[in-house]
Symmetry: C2
Subunit: 122 residues, 2 copies
């Protein structure tokens, strides 16, 4: 399977994981998805909960996630405006394998930090 990660350049069908990671593998996408996991959120709510994301990146990230079908955006014509974001079925299903990765990250965080400390000591 990993072969497909490597050999996709010559194939018509672009490599799935490269494609997926190009989108969600950035600084913010995963964080936004995780923040949406518990339920519906408004724009400024996401902004506050994530904390260190700029409006611009939040906006851009949400739009990309929406385009890729991970989140749904619902605008209520009110003043002040109310815009709600929620995970789609695709978005939810994505979080399943992601949870595995998070579990791995938590289990191996210490090892990584140890390696990092060892590297800088060297």
């Amino acid at each position: 399977m990993l072969d497909e990660v490597r050999t996709a350049k010559s194939v018509d069908q672009p490599c799935a994981i490269r494609d997926v990671l190009d989108r969600i593998g950035d600084q913010w996408s995963l964080l936004v998805l995780a923040t949406l996991a518990p339920g519906v959120r408004r724009f400024s709510q996401l902004e506050r909960e994530i904390g260190d994301i700029s409006k611009q990146m939040l906006s851009k990230t949400l739009r990309r996630l929406e385009q890729d079908g991970f989140v749904a955006r619902e605008v209520h014509a009110e003043v002040p405006p109310r815009v709600e974001y929620r995970l789609t079925a695709l978005g939810c299903s994505f979080l399943e394998p992601m949870r595995e990765l998070i579990r791995w990250a938590e289990a191996n965080q210490a090892a990584i930090q140890a390696a990092r400390r060892g590297a800088e000591a060297r």
Copy 2:
């Protein structure tokens, strides 16, 4: 568990998955790891197999992966120089949950592309 992704900003211990994704979630790291999965590779071999990575980014990516303990680097004092890279145990174990994600990506690629086409049609 996903809560920890969101609430880590206030915690002393940095959020594991944010930390991990900051490192391997970039354009190239996963690709390098996948290319190293079958076994030992030399620098220029990685360059050729990946194809569209610049030497600079390959160099930088490998150094970071080495610092984090995902790959091991072995220099042979020969001329021309020979430098070999291989996955460490940590690197191998990381590929396990990653495989899940790749599987998901392959299974849902069509859905994502459909969403994307739908979005641009709109």
